[in-house]
């Protein structure tokens, strides 16, 4: 308490600089964003209250938003499953005292550091090369190419990261638990389902949440790999919101409404995740 009193009046020195930057970059834009989603405007200062009409427009006008939402949901479900299963499998193998394990980890982790724009174009070269060789086609030919292309890119980028989290989780399992299961004569699958998976449940929660939100928020890779082609068919939520803001005339209010809907979805997922972690901690 003494420390608290002693430094209390130093707010301007310690807390003000960050708070000021935070206010300008986040608090004000966030509040403005909520408000503008209920208005019609062109220059912000001329904003006119229109109630919920931006929201109804977002969901009814030419279906692009619902289409993007559906695309993002499908993409997210497939990515969450593939990334986590593969990352977990790699982590299982890499914790088995295999030669050069650190080198393997380093290689699998590397793509995570490369920005979405750059790696989107790197993969565009590779995927178009393959499609050209096999079918004389490219990524703009079919939305299935774009969808699975994005899934592959996302896997390539996120597996290494999730793998590291799973490795930490697996290494934290006490040795005697595994030994006990061994003595009981439990086979590989029984050990996996009854010992390993329950013991790394908290890592699974973290990884599922991370892949879920990152896949939903995907923007850079989407822009670089397909830019929505063919047409708007491979356009995810984030790209759709961006284009509504900057490419569709007089639709900033509608775009902001879409962004608020997107925020509510992400916040709901974060809330569920928080509840899940809390209840697990209370049990344990």
């Amino acid at each position: 308490m003494r420390v608290s009193k002693y430094i209390k009046k130093w707010f301007p020195v310690f807390a003000l600089p960050t708070t000021l930057a935070f206010t300008l970059a986040f608090l004000v834009p966030f509040a403005m964003g909520i408000w503008l989603s209920f208005t019609k405007f062109r220059t912000v200062s001329d904003a006119q209250w229109v109630g919920l009409s931006n929201y109804t427009t977002a969901f009814t006008e030419n279906n692009d938003f619902l289409h993007a939402l559906w695309f993002s949901v499908r993409f997210t479900v497939v990515s969450v499953v593939t990334v986590n299963v593969l990352a977990f499998a790699l982590a299982m193998i890499l914790t088995k005292a295999i030669k050069a394990t650190n080198l393997f980890r380093a290689v699998f982790f590397l793509p995570n550091l490369i920005g979405g724009i750059v790696l989107g174009y790197v993969w565009q070269l590779l995927i178009n090369g393959i499609l050209g060789k096999l079918f004389q086609q490219d990524l703009t030919y079919s939305s299935a190419y774009g969808f699975w292309g994005l899934v592959v890119v996302t896997n390539w980028q996120m597996i290494g990261y999730m793998m590291v989290i799973y490795i930490a989780g697996i290494q934290n399992i006490p040795g005697d638990v595994i030994e006990a299961a061994d003595i009981d004569g439990a086979g590989f699958w029984r050990r996996l389902v009854q010992v390993t998976i329950p013991m790394v449940a908290s890592s699974i929660t973290i990884c599922v949440f991370l892949t879920l939100t990152n896949s939903l928020k995907l923007f850079d890779q989407n822009l670089a790999l397909t830019a929505g082609a063919p047409g708007h068919e491979t356009e995810g939520l984030s790209l759709n919101i961006f284009r509504t803001f900057y490419n569709v005339r007089n639709h900033q209010g509608v775009a902001q409404a879409k962004a608020v809907v997107f925020f509510v979805i992400v916040a709901a997922i974060a809330f569920v995740q928080l509840r899940a972690t809390r209840s697990k901690e209370e049990e344990g």
Binding site: M1, V3, S4, I7, K8, W10, F11, V13, F14, A15, P17, T18, T19, L20, A21, F22, L24, A25, F26, P29, F30, M32, G33, L36, V44, I93, K96, I98, A100, R105, A106, F108, N112, L113, I114, G115, G116, V118, L119, Y121, V122, W123, L125, L126, G129, G132, V164, I165, L210, T213, K217, F219, A227, F245, Q252, A255, A259, F263, A267, A270
Partner: protein, 279 residues
Amino acid sequence: MRQRDRTFRIVGFWSLLVLALLWLIPLVLVLMNSFKGNLFITSAPFEPPAADSFTGLANYSDGLGRTGFLKAFGYSAFITVFSVLVICVVTPMTAWYIARVKAWYTSTLYYLFVFSMIVPFDMVMFTMTKVANVTHLDNPVGIILLYTGFGAGLSVFIFVGFIRSIPIELEEAAMIDGASPWKVFFTIIFPVLRPTAVTVAILNAMWVWNDYRLPYLVIGTDYKTIPIAVQQYMTGSYGQKDMGGFMAMLVLSIIPIVVFYLIGQRHIIKGVTAGAVKG
């Protein structure tokens, strides 16, 4: 060692080796094509440079001038270095204040910082750009302030978590001896925060260096960072794309990351995954 374990290890090792090589194919492919002539890149991307297609370093020397890469590299480096420096100086100070001062406004501030971490960029990108224009932060110096503000959430959250685990007695003793809060922070707290600061620096550096939308919207017309330069090069002036120069550009934007990774691999893997606590 049981026979089954040995077989597992041998099979495991060889399959991992194959997988690791596959993992690197996209990067190797771009590197390989950066030494080939324009026409050969789109028509035969998988063929290694041969006598007719090999162009030496021509893509690097000709292409780079046209793509404006060197300038972009400069802007990216400037913005990343200074944003990270500012974040690593001001957010630990704020975190200390929040962790040690018991008041309604410190807990409110803390929850606002945590809250900002779950808000997608889409939600604030338009209005943040407006604020930046009005307050004249739409230049490479001003954008550092925006990065500080938008990155504050995660950084303050990580620092507060760590500071709460430091026993308060040392600070109390120093204050009884008459040290000012300023001195207490920089002689006692700041040194202990060093490993955490490395984590925060790495997380923010990766974010700022690779970020596309914020610089594109705020300063993109006058100052193109690497992701912007790459993206605009690929979409601009259709039909005149210099694929060779573009390959060289991709290689050069990946090289700094690989070098950075080779130098601090352990710290980076630890630091980046420490961000997993986020949310």
